[in-house]
């Protein structure tokens, strides 16, 4: 077999992706993109799961990922519906302009 990779690396990679997800949630203005960054974070988590599943030789980790995908799909459906609804009322997708309620 070729050179093996420490599981930790996968985890770090996941961490990187997760943090980038957080970062882009903070930086992006477009609601849809923000939503995408959430998906990115979920994917990072999935990678973590898979890595651990591999390490523990436990299938349940992969099962979890499977469920996460389902949930993500459901969230996507609802989320995008909500986004459409807000676009109807506000005619904008820029989060900076969605701050009616404050203080």
């Amino acid at each position: 077999m070729a050179a093996q990779v420490p599981t930790a690396y996968y985890l770090v990679l996941a961490a990187i992706l997760f943090s980038i997800g957080v970062g882009s949630f903070l930086i992006k203005r477009n609601i849809i993109t923000i939503f995408m960054s959430i998906e990115l974070m979920l994917n990072a988590v999935n990678l973590t799961f898979v890595a651990f599943a591999h390490q523990w030789h436990q299938i349940s980790g992969q099962i979890f990922v499977f469920f996460v995908m389902v949930v993500a799909a459901a969230e996507a459906a609802v989320g995008l519906a909500i986004i459409i609804a807000i676009f109807r009322t506000r005619q904008t997708l820029n989060v900076d302009q969605i701050d009616l309620m404050k203080l």
């Binding site: 949630f25 903070l26 404050k102």
Partner: protein, 659 residues
């Protein structure tokens, strides 16, 4: 107490104060509805009976193998573990004298008032108050404990407050009443502290117990006894209008004249002297306190007399003379001549009451005129008043054989021979005062009854103090008073003539109370006494001469003289500006502190602290709300930060653990 003492009279003691109180209740509640006659009847009846009881007590007490004192004790008034005060009365010879003054003179003045106040609105109120006064005054002298004495003490203050402020519509009257009460309260402040000290040291307030335990400990000298004594003196100066608290008495003349006669001449103001005499056991242990008493007395006597010399208001002259006479009594107590002091108290009650009533009669005749400059030549217009007044004037001036002569003389003599280091000086002061007294009294006499008539015939009613409500009977010129007013005058006139004649017996009579100390000395040096008498009589004569010169022989000289020594004169005329000085210091200081408190402490600290807390919270709250910018990304930012913080605490948080 032994059964023999608690025989029949004991239960009658209660009636002496309670009957006037009943009178007060009746007149106070129903009075407004009752006809004047009924009011008068009630008032007189409920003061006559006690007088009768007192007379009968005399017979009991002076009888052979009579008890030294009659005690009456009733249920406790205040009772807690380790301290108890009963309603308890005691009558000994001292009390007996006081009682007779109060009930006797009191009754006469009631009688007088029936005529004098006849046309006042609030007639019922007047008599209700008067009865209330009788109640408290008799409690004062009857009580057998400091606390009960204090009850009367405060009560008479209240009565005088109410009576001085009788014409409450007049601000001057209301002010005078207030002033009297508050100044008296200053005195009570001392009295209270004295009582607290007594309780703290004796655990008891009964005269008998306290004085007994003092005599049990001959080693006690000065120390806390002095403290107690001095505090009592403070109380006495308040009630008996001595320096420095005499200022209220002249203003008290705002009240109706009978009130001035009863309360501010005969009875209430002598309470201080009575109290000092009552506590002689205590004072004898504290020479220092006694000296203070003597000095205060002498000073008051001369100061008041000097002010009295230049007053124009007839009642004020009498007021200052009262203060001055009270000074005599204080002096007497101060030199340990309690008997003499009490004797002077008695005679003074007679002639000063007489003088006030006569003055009242004059004022009554002149429809409320009080300024002597607008009087004169009344001799023929109101003869009876004149003659009685004359007797009073002679008495107070101390002319033989009038009552005043004997009592004042006794005081001066006792002062002279007292072992007080400055006894001689005090005596001198006393003598000079005697001269002044005779001067201003005769001044009054001449200005009022002699010379040309300076008053205006009152065709329409003149508004003065006592004639607040116009009464028709007055709208026809100067006239003699009705008999109800004259009768007391006559009786008192006679009394102030003969009242002094039993001075020898008097000392003995009080021996059971004061012990026999003074007697020996009097017996010893009779010659000295005579010389002193001669001196004082001479001084009196001088006083009379000047009065005659200034106000009868060639009037106006007084004015000229006054102009010569303008500053001195104005100083005296303005009563040494004492009121102003007090006003400045006391009131000013009070005003200052309370304003400072109101602004600095109340607004600043008390409310400020609360406000500060409020403001701080508000600020924090505003900061908190700043986070809620409403922007999703900011929220996410806070979430991220929070998450980071949580992670940090979780990984490195061990050191934070504070279990």
């Amino acid at each position: 107490m032994s059964p023999q003492t608690s025989m029949i009279p004991a239960c009658y003691l209660w009636l002496i104060p309670l009957l006037p109180f009943v009178g007060f209740l009746i007149n106070g509640t129903l009075g407004r509805k009752l006809p004047r006659a009924a009011v008068t009847a009630v008032a007189l009846f409920f003061t006559a009976i006690p007088a009768g009881i007192v007379a009968w007590l005399w017979s009991v007490m002076t009888a052979a193998n009579a008890p030294e004192a009659i005690h009456a004790v009733s249920r406790p008034w205040i009772a807690i573990s380790g301290f108890q005060v009963n309603f308890a009365f005691t009558v000994d010879h001292l009390t007996l004298i006081m009682l007779s003054v109060i009930t006797g003179v009191g009754f006469l003045i009631h009688l007088y008032s029936a005529g004098y106040m006849a046309h006042e609105e609030g007639y019922w109120r007047f008599f209700a108050y008067l009865n209330l006064f009788m109640f408290f005054m008799s409690v004062l002298v009857l009580s057998s404990s400091f606390l009960l004495l204090f009850v009367g003490w405060e009560g008479v203050g209240l009565a005088s407050y109410l009576l001085i402020g009788f014409y409450f519509k007049k601000d001057s009257a209301a002010n005078a009443g207030k002033k009297a009460f508050i100044v008296n309260r200053i005195g009570d402040f001392g009295f209270l502290l004295a009582m607290f000290l007594i309780v703290a040291h004796f655990g008891n307030l009964n005269f008998t117990d306290v004085f007994a335990s003092i005599s049990q400990h001959p080693e006690w000298h000065g120390g806390f006894l002095t403290a107690i004594a001095l505090l009592l003196v403070v109380g006495a100066t308040g009630k008996s209008a001595q320096i420095p608290l005499y200022i209220w008495l002249p203003d008290a003349m705002e009240g109706p004249t009978p009130v001035s006669a009863l309360i501010h001449a005969a009875t209430m103001v002598t309470a201080g002297i009575y109290m000092v005499a009552r506590c002689h056991t205590l004072f004898d242990r504290s020479p220092y306190a006694l000296a203070v008493v003597a000095i205060i007395g002498a000073a008051t006597a001369i100061v008041a007399a000097s002010i009295g010399m230049v007053q124009h208001d007839i009642k004020r002259v009498l007021a200052y003379s009262t203060v001055s006479q009270l000074g005599y009594m204080f002096l007497a107590c101060g030199v340990g001549a309690y008997a003499a002091g009490i004797f002077h108290l008695l005679t003074h009650a007679f002639f000063k009451a007489l003088l006030f009533l006569a003055a009242g009669s004059v004022i009554h005749a002149l429809s409320g005129e009080q300024d002597m400059r607008n009087m004169g030549g009344l001799r023929k217009r109101i003869p009876i008043t004149f003659w009685t007044m004359t007797s009073g004037v002679f008495a107070i001036a101390g002319i033989w054989p009038f009552a005043g002569f004997f009592s004042k003389d006794a005081i001066l003599y006792q002062t002279f021979i007292s072992d007080n280091p400055i006894g001689k000086l005090l005596w001198l002061v006393g003598v000079v005062t005697a001269g002044m007294t005779s001067f201003y009294m005769f001044r009054l006499w001449f200005k009022t009854f002699f010379g040309e008539e300076r008053f205006v015939e009152a065709q329409h009613d003149v508004h003065g103090h006592d004639t607040h409500a116009s009464h028709d009977s007055h709208s026809h010129g100067v006239h003699e008073s009705p008999w109800v007013m004259l009768l007391p005058l006559v009786i008192l006139g006679i009394l102030s003539l003969v009242g002094g004649w039993w001075h020898v017996a008097f000392g003995k009579f009080l021996n059971p109370v004061f012990g026999t100390a003074p007697e020996a000395t009097t017996a010893a040096s009779h010659g000295l006494e005579l010389t002193l008498v001669a001196i004082s009589l001479l001084v009196v004569a001088i006083g009379f001469f000047f009065a005659w010169l200034f106000y009868y022989k060639k009037p106006g000289t007084a004015g000229a003289l006054a102009l010569k020594v303008k500053p001195l004169y104005s100083l005296v005329e303005n009563k040494f500006w004492v009121d102003e000085i007090y006003g400045f210091f006391v009131t000013g200081l009070l005003m200052f502190t309370r304003t400072v408190l109101a602004w600095l402490v109340e607004a600043g600290i008390v409310n400020g602290s609360g406000a500060l807390a409020g403001v701080t919270t508000r600020g924090l709250s505003i900061v908190t709300r700043r986070v809620q910018s409403g922007n999703i990304r900011s929220y996410a930012g806070w979430l991220a930060l929070g998450a980071a913080a949580v992670l940090v605490v979780m990984i490195f948080g061990r050191s934070l653990w504070v279990h």
